[in-house]
């Protein structure tokens, strides 16, 4: 098992507020890691730091690329995404006015080329490329049982399906790491169970690393092989689900001090 992503002494200050302080963590190949913590602990901020949406104040993030270690500090978000990191958002950010198929095709943008002349003059090469990536997108949607919704606008999908589409869209970028930000938020127990199976299937079929933020403990304990606990911006604990369940500091952070 080798380290795919390594985070050292990561700090993010917003003015006087330290949202993330001295976080050290790592993600290995093919593992499913969960990041938990009370509201406002800095989980989403940490996600945004890792995916380049915001720039860290100090510390280092390194990614093991195909040709050696790549420092990600200060790298633009789209470049980080193209290295093989995809994410979903806590408050769904699909391309709402576009179709399901277009949402997936857009995510594949970095994985194929079409030059301007080919597409503007509709040369045969253009149709060939389009047909190929369309096929790829449909195959991917089929895996997630969405092949009948190709022409639906994303905004018209039921809530659970929108969450699913976000995951499909993330996978369409062909990531090495998939970051899921509260995928079960707002889902009923049945949908959550579906989602649990879905995440397992994704990880199994696509051989990718998944980092998951989630409040639903049943989902976390079922899925994660390791858990990081974040509180007030710093890491409180790290360990297997069992270790975390019996960790006094974690219980205190969630339930408060014993009187």
């Amino acid at each position: 098992m080798t380290t795919l992503l390594n985070v050292e002494d990561l700090i993010k200050n917003f003015g006087g507020l330290t949202a993330v302080s001295d976080v050290n963590m790592h993600l290995n190949d093919d593992e499913l890691v969960a990041l938990i913590g009370p509201n406002g602990a800095g989980k989403t901020t940490l996600f945004n730091l890792l995916t380049g949406v915001i720039v860290p104040s100090s510390g280092s993030i390194t990614f093991r690329g195909s040709d050696g270690l790549i420092p990600l500090n200060g790298m633009k978000a789209y470049k980080i995404a193209n290295l093989g990191m995809a994410r979903t958002f806590q408050n769904i950010r699909l391309f709402k006015e576009l179709t399901v198929l277009d949402n997936v095709l857009i995510a594949m943008t970095a994985n194929y080329r079409e030059n301007f002349v080919q597409s503007v003059f509709r040369l045969p090469k253009f149709y060939k490329t389009e047909a190929r990536i369309r096929q790829e997108a449909i195959e991917l949607l089929k895996i997630f049982d969405m092949q009948d919704d190709l022409d639906q606008l994303a905004k018209n999908l039921p809530y659970g399906t929108q969450r699913r589409l976000e995951i499909v869209r993330g996978l369409a970028t062909k990531p090495k790491i998939l970051f899921l930000d509260e995928p079960a938020a707002g889902m009923n127990p049945e949908e959550t169970a579906d989602l649990t199976r879905l995440i397992q299937q994704v990880q199994h079929d696509f051989h990718i690393t998944v980092l998951l933020i989630e409040h639903d403990m049943s989902l976390v304990m079922n899925l994660a092989s390791r858990i990081y606990v974040l509180d007030h911006g710093s890491l409180l604990a790290e360990g297997t689900p069992k270790e975390i369940q019996n960790n006094d500091a974690v219980i205190k952070a969630y339930l408060g001090e014993e009187a």
Binding site: K76, F95, D102, I106, Y112, Q152
Partner: protein
């Protein structure tokens, strides 16, 4: 592949049919020089609106500087064909205008496209004013009095072909990898960014293509109307193009065609009303905005794919 060919042939037939219909109407005398003038003006406005719609409706960047790029094309053509009035130079001047407009769009776009919404609108408006003021103060462009007696090469068939060519380029761009990336930028920049899309690059691409088409329209205008002055390309012209886009439907190329045609006809019909004309014109706009705020077409497109397969509910791709 086969299906695509079928739709492409349909569009081709439509374009050729339009051409011969126009030709026949002129021959029979239904379209006199007044109406021909109206049709050409509509054509030029279509080119402008389609280009601006790409920037505003598809890439979601609110630009108010379209007239500036139009001026670039207009003056490139005027200067070149006034010196050497041959058809070859005229076509060359269109290309020169497009190239200068592309360079200008890059210079304007690289700093301003980092801005959002209203700020971008003001910045692009300022950029267009700069272009106009430069032209106003140059010897080569004959300063504020403008240029006269520009040879007429842009007859209606030339304008017609240019409308077809620019529309094909814009529509085909929209329905390709780049166009989808631009749509993603419009929908959600943060999501597009995290899907590996270089947001700035695709904004700039749409902006540059829009500017290039505006330059083509400028060339047509200069050589058809035969006289231009810097004041033809002020902020009011940019707003006039914006009105067509908004009226037709932001994000609908078909809408831009419809709106440019309607406004052209209304404008011509009201010619005899004198000062009342602008009042009626404004009233039409207000009424449409009250009863159909998303524009005449909304975001819908005319699509042969949908005409042939009425079952597929979603608007299909043109071409």
């Amino acid at each position: 592949m086969k299906a695509n060919l079928k739709y492409n042939i349909c569009w081709l037939i439509l374009m050729v049919a339009g051409f011969y219909l126009m030709n026949a109407l002129i021959l029979v005398g239904v379209i006199d020089s007044f109406l021909e003038n109206m049709v050409v003006t509509i054509g030029i406005n279509i080119i402008l609106a389609v280009g601006l719609n790409l920037v505003i409706g598809f890439a979601g960047q609110f630009s108010l500087g379209h007239a500036g790029f139009m001026a670039v094309g207009a003056y490139a053509t005027s200067i070149m064909i006034s010196k050497t009035p041959t058809a070859g130079v005229f076509y060359l001047s269109i290309i020169v205008g497009v190239i200068i407009a592309i360079i200008a769009a890059l210079i304007v776009g690289i700093p301003t496209l980092r801005l959002r919404g209203d700020y971008l609108a003001i910045a692009t408006m300022g950029a267009a004013e700069i272009i106009r003021i430069i032209i106003n103060n140059m010897k080569m462009t004959n300063g504020p009095s403008g240029m006269f007696n520009i040879p007429q090469f842009a007859t209606w068939p030339v304008v017609y072909i240019m409308v077809c060519v620019t529309t094909i380029i814009v529509v085909n761009f929209i329905h390709s990898r780049g166009g989808r990336a631009a749509l993603a930028v419009r929908e959600d920049e943060i999501a597009a960014d995290s899907m590996g899309i270089n947001v700035f690059k695709w904004k700039l691409a749409a902006f540059v293509i829009g500017a290039a088409t505006a330059a083509v329209a400028g060339s047509m205008q200069a050589s058809y109307v035969q006289t231009i002055a810097p004041n033809n390309f002020n902020i009011m012209e940019s707003i006039a193009i914006l009105i067509i886009v908004v009226l037709g439907g932001v994000g609908s190329i078909t809408g831009s065609f419809v709106a440019a045609t309607i406004l052209g006809i209304v404008d011509a019909a009201l010619q005899s009303f004198g000062a009342l004309r602008m009042v009626i014109y404004a009233l039409v706009l207000i009424l449409i905005m009250i009863f159909k705020p998303s524009g005449i077409m909304g975001a819908k497109e005319l699509s042969f794919k949908r005409l042939f397969n009425p079952k597929s509910r979603k608007a299909g791709a043109k071409s």
